[in-house]
């Protein structure tokens, strides 16, 4: 029995870690801007494509940092172009802008890559297969959870201990007051996007090493699932997003194992609706009430 479940469990933990890395990007942006960054899933995909093209002509030692740098630049640019001009606009407009940006990125990728799925480069060592407890899997499956936890610990330290982290916490608590207290809100937001995109880039390397191909719309689904993970954990909370990511990844993988692949996506959204109905603030979310 256990031997049967183990491969699915391993795959679930691994994909869960990847969701968690994307989910942090969502949850941090939401915490500060109160905006679902719909383009985040597409930034994740772009990172995948950059890797495909970079690795084709450059050695991995160059292309890996290049992917990270370019993804971060893209993330910050998306913020500057699509969200910054709308800072005082109604929330619906910003959300529409986010959807528009996602649409633009997807179409741009389609145009530039010809719309065909590309083979993701195999990363040496990471993509090798190993055997654990009698089940064969890629090494990336084993690395992901540890790397995820490591990155999250670093991130939490960053937020708790540094000045910019303090500014981020202040901004997510009260945007306007933080601004009045002399926090350079634009820097904080840019930094948030830097961190979010960085994690998305790392997540994309892990994810695509596992799934082997990249196509323009492939990021939409993991993106949405990562968002669900963020909501599950309580949006705005980083540990929440991580736990949400793992829960969703594992459940989804087990459902696939049970032979109900069609419902693995549906499950995530059903979970979302249940969570929102029972505890709209998620596991670790805070209650916000509107003043009358």
């Amino acid at each position: 029995m256990f031997a049967k479940i183990l491969p699915y469990l391993l795959a679930g933990i691994s994909v869960g870690g990847q969701y968690a890395l994307i989910a942090i990007g969502y949850t941090m942006v939401y915490g500060i801007l109160r905006l679902i960054n719909f383009a985040h899933g597409d930034i994740f995909t772009v990172a995948g494509f950059i890797m495909v093209y970079a690795a084709a002509s450059l050695p991995l030692t160059v292309s890996v940092p290049l992917v990270i740098i370019l993804t971060v630049i893209l993330g910050v640019m998306v913020e500057k172009v699509a969200y910054k001009p709308l800072r005082t606009a109604p929330r619906m407009s910003v959300m529409i802008s986010a959807i528009g940006m996602s649409y633009l990125l997807q179409n741009l990728m389609w145009y530039l890559t010809g719309g065909l799925a590309k083979q993701y480069p195999t990363l040496p060592w990471v993509s090798n297969t190993v055997t654990v407890l009698g089940c064969t899997t890629k090494r990336v499956t084993l690395i992901t959870p540890f790397l995820t936890v490591l990155l999250v610990v670093v991130l939490v330290l960053l937020i708790q201990k540094t000045r910019i982290g303090m500014a981020m916490r202040a901004a997510s608590r009260d945007f306007e007051t933080a601004q009045l207290m002399g926090i350079k809100i634009n820097n904080v937001i840019s930094f948030t996007f830097v961190v979010g995109s960085f994690l998305a880039a790392v997540g994309s390397m892990l994810y695509f090493s596992n799934y082997a191909t990249v196509s323009p719309t492939v990021g939409a689904m993991p993106g949405l699932k990562a968002f669900v993970a963020a909501v599950f954990g309580g949006i705005g909370s980083i540990p929440g997003a991580v736990i949400g990511g793992f829960v969703i990844g594992i459940c989804e993988s087990l459902i696939k194992g049970a032979g109900l692949t069609t419902f693995s996506d549906a499950f995530t959204f059903a979970l979302l609706i249940v969570i929102l109905a029972v505890k709209p603030t998620g596991l670790f979310g805070e209650n916000l009430t509107e003043k009358v």
Partner: protein
């Protein structure tokens, strides 16, 4: 005032009738470009779903992203009920006991000819709307309590669930799983004698539905929806049951989305669950934005414009195009230059209004982009090259999304803002009064 209203209704009816006649003529005249007919048919169906989304997002202020899911429900309800009995074994070839074993439209048209067919189609369309409406009622109970962005993501998720369920193998005998459903009654089955009605029928169905939405919006319920959008705390304090009215708006919107899904199925003559993805909802939402959030006529205009561009006017962007001679190139360059400069000028005017003069440096990126494009334009005229660069498969969508982003960022009110074609004159004084008020 009453006679005035009466006269208006008569004029509207007359316009509608003459439009239908023109459409019928276009449909049956051999010289009509096929593309025009496509745009008219698809545009009219899109208009309905865009209007239905606008009712919810624009008029009630509920940011929902479930439209594709409700369209899917409508399309499948309609298709499953109208596949002719003898075709069912072919359509459902992967399932031994596939198909429902009857076809409403077939039975009725068998009994009463074209009239029976019409009754059958109307019945099935209503049923398509009802199924979508019932699901909206079910999902609305928990979901509508949520605040804006949570609602968006929950409805989006719901649409995904619906798609997964429809594609579920075990439901295959009814839904045909992830395979195509086809052969059901579509617009080409309608005709009067030898007269084709392919284009008129979608217009009639969709037009009637939009008319109902317009009537609703101008009724007391429509006003209440707008009150909820403007300030729901005030609305509740004035005795408006928020849960009830939000649900009402959600169900009505889904009802018409269901019908439009069925109409889309009829237009395509086939339906497959995999086409009703989140990206479809995004597309519909973006059309709402282009038309103007809170404007029915804006939604209709934008739908035709969008379908027209994507199916017809901008098709050339997807193919390699080589201009015939220098004159053609000159004309292209002039048009391109004018569009770029005009757009930049509009954006400048717009941002100038929004921001104070000292922030003029914010105009620099747009200015540089504009200058760059113009410079390229001039270089292109001078160069001996006749081939238009960049054009290849996918470029149309890129241009599209760029245009949409420009609309979202700089022309947030879209084509019509929240005004309607028919009351442009009436609302102007109010708008002027607002502008004249010193701050």
């Amino acid at each position: 005032m009453k006679t005035n209203n009466h006269r208006k209704s008569w004029i509207a009816l007359l316009i509608a009738l003459s439009m239908l006649i023109v459409l019928t003529l276009l449909d049956n005249w051999s010289g009509t470009p096929a593309m025009l007919l496509t745009v008219l048919r698809k545009g009219s169906i899109y208009a309905l779903v865009v209007v239905s989304m606008n009712l919810l997002n624009g008029f009630t202020g509920l940011f929902s992203l479930g439209q594709a899911g409700f369209m899917l429900l409508g399309a499948y309800t309609y298709a499953v009920l109208t596949v002719p009995v003898e075709d069912q074994s072919a359509v459902y070839q992967r399932y031994a006991t596939g198909g429902v074993g009857f076809s409403i439209t077939e039975t009725l048209s068998g009994a009463m000819g074209q009239f029976g067919l019409l009754i059958g189609v109307i019945f099935c369309l209503l049923l398509a709307g009802l199924v979508a409406g019932v699901f909206a009622w079910l999902i609305g109970l928990p979901v509508l309590k949520l605040k804006s962005d949570y609602l968006a993501i929950a409805t989006l998720g719901f649409a995904e669930i619906i798609r997964a369920v429809v594609m579920y193998e075990k439901l295959g005998p009814v839904t045909n799983g992830s395979n195509l459903l086809y052969g059901f009654t579509n617009f080409s089955d309608f005709h009067i004698g030898g007269l084709k009605l392919d284009t008129v029928m979608p217009f009639i169905f969709s037009g009637l539905c939009i008319l109902v939405v317009v009537l609703l919006i101008n009724s007391t319920y429509g006003r209440v929806f707008k009150a909820i959008r403007d300030d729901e705390i005030a609305a509740e304090a004035m005795g408006i049951n928020l849960a009830k009215h939000k649900r009402m708006s959600f169900i009505i919107s889904s009802f018409f989305a269901g019908i439009s899904g069925a109409l889309l199925a009829m237009y395509q003559a086939s339906v497959q669950a995999n086409t009703f993805k989140a990206s479809m909802t995004y597309e519909i939402l973006l059309i709402v934005v282009i038309g103007g959030i809170g404007s029915i006529s804006g939604s209709a205009i934008a739908s035709f414009l969008f379908v027209g561009c994507s199916e017809w006017f901008l098709r050339f962007l997807d193919n390699d195009t080589k201009l015939k001679n220098f004159n053609a190139k000159l004309i292209f360059a002039i048009v391109f230059g004018l569009v770029v400069v005009g757009l930049a000028a509009l954006i400048f005017r717009k941002t100038r209004k929004m921001e104070r003069m000292e922030k003029l440096w914010r105009q620099i990126p747009v200015g540089l982009l504009c200058l760059g494009l113009v410079a390229w334009d001039i270089w292109f005229v001078i160069s001996p090259n006749l081939k238009l660069p960049l054009l290849r498969s996918g470029f149309r969508m890129v241009v599209f999304s760029v245009v949409i982003m420009i609309v979202v960022l700089f022309f947030r009110e879209g084509i019509m803002g929240d005004r309607e074609l028919w009351d442009m004159k009436r609302r102007r004084p109010a708008a002027n009064a607002k502008a004249g008020e010193p701050k």
